[in-house]
Symmetry: C2
Subunit: 331 residues, 2 copies
């Protein structure tokens, strides 16, 4: 295993220190492992959006902290949930009297820990809501998860609910918007190979020379089935087919072709072209899109597709200004 | 070899079609393989900035086409120079009476082809200048190159000269600025493993289990030497040392920690932290930075560091609004 790290046990703290050095507009608590906007006093009276999860999915979540999106993100160890104390500290640091919305990817550890954080927060008299993200259509239950896993829709919920919070909406409204984005979104991922965590030092699973995993999870957990490698057009069709079999996507969508960490951008654009064609053939149009590495799985080669049904107000919130390390427009 | 492609010979055209589908603000000539701003009439009287090179380095160059940066980019086959006809067509499509600046990475094929394009353009009565980018301190001559190779400074020159062109500066001024950025910039890259082109279907070189290549080129061409794998702090120090031994970096800089395609963002932030420390210990401060995949080598694991000495006016041009697929702020 060759990784750009100093030591497996130091990777999260070192990366957070690098994030702090690179982004003075963020305040990074390396000790307690959370990131929030440095200029937080400016958002008094605003609902605080707090997310987080295991590290190894960067830029998710810390790369989406900033005006128009998250207020804070907690970083767990690689592929491991953050602990309730981190979530509590992040919520305390960013809450401004209007309550806290926790955005939680559906993995058992994350769900339990965010629930405990919400209880601790309640003990301090701070109101919170939690919205569960469970957009991955691949499997119903999985390693680490009861129910569907949360993947690409997390970013969509963070962006769209974040924009609504920025406009001064109250906690129930912001929570309802995040839940709506989740309900309107579906994802499906395909791995061409495994990923290697720094702690394990060897690939998390094995695939044959000509084998892929359809429905892969973002930690490399098993999907629906293994299949022989196929052209990009067939892989895109498989992802779109799985997504559209699960929800009636008609009209306009926001579409993401997400790289899992080791697939070249050149290839992701090839996939996007095929996804666009597969959707067009179904009468579905892409109103907005993202192509790139947004919800990664360390060094996994492969991609995922996330679609969100988006009518007027969702698109308007999507287009609202955002300024984070990984997503930025309009400011 | 597993790649997200339909066929090796189709990858560039398919990726350009995907770029066109994803970015309606760009006009993509898939047949002649160049990309330019769709709303080009708006820039009449502006110096046209045209770059390009072999594919496989995305987002370079097409990902940097848009207001504030390039007017057009030509895409060659993977790791192969575009041909003069492409460059000519891109220049003709974007020139607006104020001449054309070609930004050329120093690889023999690119240099010869851009030179021929300039001659063809001159035959049509259109003035052009060419600025050679040769910032890589690793080796003096190399596979594909007489003299130093052009790498990360290309992006810096495209951004800074692009901002000056946007302000209406004339061709000699814009060319002088690009040359100045190149003169003020140095790069050094380190590979943890090889990359695989779709056409070859197998890695371009081999590295041992615990071996790295110091001074790697962006096509996998040899660097200075092979060495045992080392902690991120030592690798960052090696890159910074090579760069600072070549040019006296004092005061403020723009720094990029660039991923070569398959190194997780988590690790790139670990490297950034170490680069920041290595520079601070030399009295060098980072005024602006980029951390991510900007000048890639397909699926190569590893990173490069690019530094540019940047005083007031360079920083001001760096900060100017830009709106491209891969670099965007202020608009």
């Amino acid at each position: 295993m060759k990784k750009l790290i100093n030591a497996p046990e130091a990777v999260v703290a070192d990366a957070l220190a690098g994030l702090a050095a690179a982004h003075p507009e963020l305040s990074v608590d390396v000790e307690r492992r959370f990131v929030h906007r440095a200029a937080h006093a400016a958002t008094a009276g605003k609902v605080a959006l707090v997310s987080g999860g295991g590290s190894g999915h960067e830029p998710l979540h810390a790369g989406f902290v900033g005006p128009g999106m998250l207020d804070a993100a907690c970083a767990g160890e690689v592929f491991t949930s953050p602990v309730p104390d981190q979530m509590l500290a992040a919520a305390q640091a960013t809450q401004a009297g209007a309550g806290v919305l926790f955005l939680v990817k559906n993995y058992t550890g994350d769900v339990l820990n965010f629930q405990m954080a919400a209880e601790l927060l309640e003990d301090e008299g701070i109101e919170s809501r939690s919205v569960l993200i469970n957009d991955d259509v691949a499997v119903e239950d999985s390693l680490y998860t009861a129910g569907r896993r949360g993947t690409g829709a997390t970013l969509f919920a963070e962006k769209i609910a974040g924009a609504l919070a920025e406009r001064g909406a109250d906690l129930p409204s912001v929570a309802a918007m995040a839940a709506r984005v989740n309900a309107e979104s579906r994802s499906f991922g395909i791995a061409l190979g495994p990923c290697t965590t720094p702690a394990a030092g060897r690939p998390g699973f094995e695939l044959g020379e000509d084998e892929i995993e359809l429905g892969i999870g973002i930690h490399g957990e098993p999907g629906r089935r293994r299949a022989p490698m196929a052209p990009a057009a067939e892989l895109a069709e498989a992802a779109v087919d799985a997504i559209c079999a699960d929800l009636d996507f008609t009209g306009e969508t926001i579409a993401m072709v997400n790289g899992m960490g080791a697939s070249p951008l050149l290839e992701l654009y090839v996939v996007y072209n095929e996804v666009d064609k597969a959707l067009k053939s179904r009468g579905i149009s892409i109103a907005r899109n993202l192509v790139g590495n947004y919800v990664t799985s360390l060094d996994m080669p492969g991609f995922s597709v996330t679609l969100c049904r988006a009518d007027g107000d969702l698109l308007e919130l999507w287009d609202a200004p955002v300024r984070t390390p990984a997503l930025r427009w309009g400011m």
